[in-house]
Subunit: 273 residues, 2 copies
């Protein structure tokens, strides 16, 4: 099993594939998480698991126990290895029709992928973003939840195949900046660190929360707010974050460019503590 | 194979299950259709297939040929049988990450389910609907498309387990009526037949289109329009439709009730021609 590039366990087993009756496939009826695993240890596991439980709860799925998921991770991953884990939890198998069965047995899938090799320049010199045309829909019932309905992100990411752009900024239909396709975004204006409110749309990532929790170390006050594109373009510094690469500075967006700043490196250092 | 309650073919084969790497599972990156199959013949196949091609095109998937799908249907279904077919087409297998691979081989899944047994009273006396609390999000890029991101429908349908209510009316966040969780809706006001505009949200079903196409037989003028809940509650008649049950009259919604009318039966008769 360890010789395959991707390895996975479905409900703890190595033989199964996904049933064509799984509601994760039919409706995107499930949630997921992606994070680094170093030496068989999931990075920031308590907060990752807490978010998984919360997201499962948001759509009425009973989350598998931390012990089960940890056992899966220890079976899939090796010591002396840095790799990516993706956990998906779906509502499980169901008959045709939207109504969830009265009793469901969630499907848990734990997958291992190679850790992406990010160019050193992304850390040293920052990155360029594009602006997505695909809007993020307002859906307060699901906002913040990392669920399996991700067609918006797929279409937004597919808009730009130029590898010079590492991600794209997604706006809602009212021109508010929400997130990037696979990152959250922060802007610094003086000693204020702002990130978009995600009560109407978007995915509230674990690294976003960790940045909000540590920003005061840098004498920054944090705000979650409605942020329009112009707020980003006129910011002193812009950074993006996720659980795999950590934090990168945004050096260009549309016609705007920024000089090399210190915030991304400072946040990376604090997150590594 | 024919002894199982559900039978399915994945890319025309009987052995495969779904790969855990399928983008249909990870992102809901695909589309589907549901329709009746009578004596091995898919009902309204030309319009069903045309809609499948159109929906695939909307998210950039190349639709499998009608010949392949028809061969699957003929392998799965029997003569002297009325059953339900569900076709799903996903973007296929991909590496981790939202960006679709440059070249993809779509996964096609054709499934057979038993035809639901609907109570005769739904046809003779009409049905009751509830009003969903879960809103339908505005997403013009995906509006009308029957894609696999259906968590809104799942949550809306799960709001009411009382079998006295056959479906729920879904509104957008501005109070516009969009659809029911698995039906489209029409209201009659005098000789006007109105159905919600689906350019911002909702699924444009094949039966909805067929009703729009035949309503002039009944001297009705059709309009797709922004319709608020009060327009529904004050209508002369309300009907819902989908490809499995056809058309039913709505006899009650919230505190409003309607007398038995003729429209649903007239539309069913016209659709059966």
């Amino acid at each position: 099993m360890m010789s395959r590039q991707h390895t996975y366990l479905i409900n703890g087993g190595t033989d199964d594939a996904i049933s064509p009756l799984d509601r994760g496939l039919h409706y995107g009826d499930g949630v997921f998480r992606t994070f680094k695993v170093v030496d068989c240890l999931p990075v920031n596991w308590p907060i990752q698991y807490q978010k998984l439980v919360s997201d499962c709860g948001a759509i009425g799925i009973v989350c598998p126990s931390a012990e089960l998921l940890m056992a899966d991770i220890q079976m899939l991953f090796d010591l002396d290895e840095i790799a990516v884990a993706k956990i998906m939890v779906t509502r499980g198998i169901g008959e045709r029709g939207y109504a969830p069965p009265a009793i469901t047995a969630p499907t848990r899938i734990v997958m291992k992928s190679p850790m992406p090799v990010y160019p050193a320049s992304h850390y040293e010199h920052g990155v360029a973003l594009y602006i997505c045309k695909t809007p993020v829909a307002h859906q307060p019932v699901l906002a913040g939840v990392k669920h399996l309905n991700r067609l918006e992100n797929v279409l937004a990411r597919a808009e730009c195949r130029d590898p010079a752009f590492v991600d794209g900024v997604m706006l809602d239909m009212f021109g508010n900046v929400i997130e990037c396709t696979s990152s959250n975004i922060f802007v610094r204006k003086g000693n204020r660190l702002l990130t978009p409110s995600l009560v109407k749309a978007g995915v509230a990532g674990v690294t976003r929360q960790r940045v909000l929790d540590i920003a005061h170390y840098l004498q920054l006050t944090t705000e979650t707010a409605d942020i329009v594109l112009d707020d980003v373009l006129t910011a002193d510094e812009v950074v993006i974050c996720n659980s795999l690469y950590g934090v990168w500075q945004v050096r260009s967006l549309a016609a705007q460019t920024w000089p090399l700043g210190k915030l991304a490196a400072q946040l990376r250092e604090l997150l590594s503590l």
